[in-house]
């Protein structure tokens, strides 16, 4: 499995840090940023919310897995469950159509409680599974995820069982109804950018650096004074906070939440999204999520167009997963990197040829 690269840079020791930072990101970054910001002018509200905002929310949940897997070498299947729990807590403490359960707290209080509870839950799951490795971590976290699924399915007093909660709406504040398409898009975009930035920043902070150390050489880390177990649990806490925020956005997006949100299907989908996108960079999970949402949305038409049953979109996703994992261990960003690398090399080769060609007349005696 691909792992995240070691970040090596410490704060730029240059005086013009802003300018340097802008230059460092490269053109592709700024083009993408401008496109994302102008998106409401370019596409319909269906694309804005159903495709892009949804993809970014799933991307944030997968980002929390990318942080654990890429920097810590920890493959946790509990991230979707953390998000679902945060969504449930928003419904339980805030407003929903199920008034006999929902407490009706103001939205911000419900969000704070949701993030705290879901982060604590994720940290606890981490503490339970942190001493295991590889496949055993996957098994334990999968067991926790399915336990949570059955709990929500069978418990009616708190989770309202099979039907869950509906009638949950994004809040109105600063005079904006964040449930409307364009504000919701910008809300999700802002949160995703923040989450991405947080992961990039922390990866280069001592905490993230040490996390990568525990991934590469746990024994030496202990011999340098680090508590490897505690460090991994702290990584779960950070990742779970990310997933919890994403879970709040998810319940605002869906406007309802039921056991299916944290079912085994979505739990595994997050793993697929992260791996298909690529685990070596924070942008990977977002690309994976976009591909996933596009496939999910349009595979029905596509499959029916070629004469297959439209409900088989999982088949398409599964096949895509297989192909990408077979051909690029670093997911879609790995493919992208190989393409740009090849383009750069052929450009250099051409430039070198031209230089030789240019030199030749003067060079021949």
């Amino acid at each position: 499995m691909a792992i995240a690269e070691h970040p090596s840079a410490y704060p730029a020791r240059r005086p013009d840090r802003l300018g340097a930072a802008i230059a460092r990101q490269g053109t592709a970054f700024w083009v993408a940023a401008a496109l994302l910001l102008l998106m409401p002018l370019l596409v319909s509200s269906f694309w804005l919310v159903q495709i892009l905002a949804y993809a970014m929310i799933l991307g944030m949940i997968a980002l929390s897995l990318m942080f654990l897997a890429g920097y810590g070498g920890i493959v946790s299947l509990v991230q979707m469950t953390v998000a679902a729990l945060a969504g449930y807590v928003v419904a339980i403490f805030g407003h929903s159509a199920i008034t006999q359960i929902s407490l009706g707290w103001p939205w911000w209080a419900a969000v704070i409680v949701a993030v705290l509870i879901a982060t604590a839950f994720g940290t606890l799951s981490g503490a339970l599974s942190v001493r295991t490795e590889g496949i055993y971590t996957i098994m334990i976290t999968l067991a926790i995820a399915s336990a949570f699924y059955y709990l929500t399915l069978q418990n009616y007093t708190v989770f309202n069982g099979f039907s869950g909660f509906n009638g949950i709406t994004p809040p109105v504040f600063l005079g904006v109804d964040w449930g409307e398409n364009i504000p919701f898009y910008y809300l999700v975009l802002g949160c995703s950018a923040l989450a991405c930035w947080a992961v990039v920043y922390v990866a280069r902070a001592p905490f993230g650096l040490a996390l990568q150390g525990t991934r590469d050489n746990p024994r030496r880390m202990a011999a340098l004074g680090f508590d490897v177990t505690a460090h991994k649990i702290a990584a779960y806490a950070f990742a779970s906070a990310l997933a919890a925020f994403a879970g709040v956005l998810l319940v605002w997006y869906q406007r309802q939440i039921s056991p299916g949100t944290g079912g085994v299907g979505p739990v595994v989908d997050i793993l697929i999204i992260a791996v298909v996108g690529g685990l070596s960079r924070p942008i990977g999970p977002f690309i994976g999520a976009l591909v996933y949402v596009l496939l999910r949305t349009f595979s029905l038409d596509l499959l029916e167009w070629v004469g297959l049953d439209g409900k088989r979109f999982q088949l398409l996703i599964g096949l895509g997963f297989l192909v990408i994992v077979l051909f690029s261990p670093d997911g879609l960003i790995g493919i992208w990197r190989r393409i740009t690398e090849r383009a750069r090399r052929s450009r250099e080769a051409r430039a070198a040829q031209m230089r030789i060609g240019g030199d030749a007349p003067g060079g021949t005696p």
Binding site: H6, G213, D216, A222, A234
Partner: protein, 270 residues
């Protein structure tokens, strides 16, 4: 109330530790054994080293020297026996707890972070023994630990390759970096596992210089096959064979001991 009490008791623990450290040996092993299955890699080792003392451990391949280090640091806990570090019983402590009390080690086979730069490796080592090892904030330009790390890189003559990835370094440079990691923080006692192995003559001279110019309060044990290095930088020697100590003495005694000559120096290492 309870917090005040716990502060009192932690104060008591600290002062106890200080009092113990004042009189205690830097390192004290009592009847330490380590089994690997049926193999006794260490049998009944009893050893004490004074604070600031510098000692060599010599012995043929497989004598149990590295295993001795692994037991002292907790990489592998001993099967039986007691280990005290400055008077404190650390036998049940995990490695990081021992390291935070001032113990350090180098590895016979370099154990570095090959995907990180030289400076990052040393910076990580400085962070590991500081309280801010969980910091989510990136170091500022005037970060004290970063300055300390730069100083250590300088001390082992690696400033020129400071920003290079460790995986790209020459073998000798990686060995130097091993030493820098062991010098981070405020070490009180260091275990060097064959630091000179594979070094060029110049690098060996540098190594001897680093060892002899360590502050006097820092003691160490050095495992070294090269007598020229080993006997020049220590004041006492422990000879090991088949997991047991069979002789202790001053370097000049050991050098001329007939039994040692036969068992060790005659064994192809001379």
């Amino acid at each position: 109330m309870s917090r005040a009490m716990s502060r009192d008791s932690s104060l008591a623990v600290a002062s106890e530790r200080l009092a113990a450290a004042g009189s205690a040996n830097a390192l004290e092993l009592r009847g330490v054994s380590r089994l690997f299955g049926a193999l006794a890699a260490l049998s009944d080792i009893t050893l004490s080293v004074r604070p600031g003392e510098r000692r060599a451990v010599l012995g043929s391949n497989g004598a149990g020297k590295t295993t001795l280090f692994n037991c002292i640091t907790g990489d592998f806990p001993p099967t039986s026996g007691i280990i005290r570090f400055f008077g404190e019983d650390v036998t049940a402590f995990p490695p990081q707890e021992r390291i935070r009390r001032g113990l350090r080690r180098t590895y016979q086979i370099s154990s570095l972070f090959t995907g990180l730069s030289v400076l990052d490796n040393v910076y990580l080592a400085c962070r590991g023994v500081s309280r801010s090892r969980f910091s989510l904030l990136r170091p500022r330009r005037d970060d004290a630990l970063m300055a300390a790390a730069e100083g250590l890189v300088e001390a082992v003559h690696l400033s020129a390759v400071r920003d290079q990835l460790v995986g790209e370094l020459a073998y000798g440079q990686q060995r130097q970096l091993e030493i820098a990691l062991a010098l981070s923080g405020a070490p009180r006692f260091i275990l060097f596992d064959e630091p000179a192995a594979g070094l060029s003559p110049t690098e060996r001279r540098d190594l001897v210089h680093i060892l002899t110019s360590l502050p006097a309060h820092i003691g160490y044990i050095i495992i070294e096959h090269d007598m020229d290095v080993a006997l020049r930088v220590v004041e006492s020697v422990t000879m090991m064979h088949n997991g047991r100590i069979f002789k202790e003495g001053r370097p000049e005694e050991i050098e001329t001991d007939p039994e040692v000559q036969e068992l060790y120096l005659g064994g192809g290492h001379g």
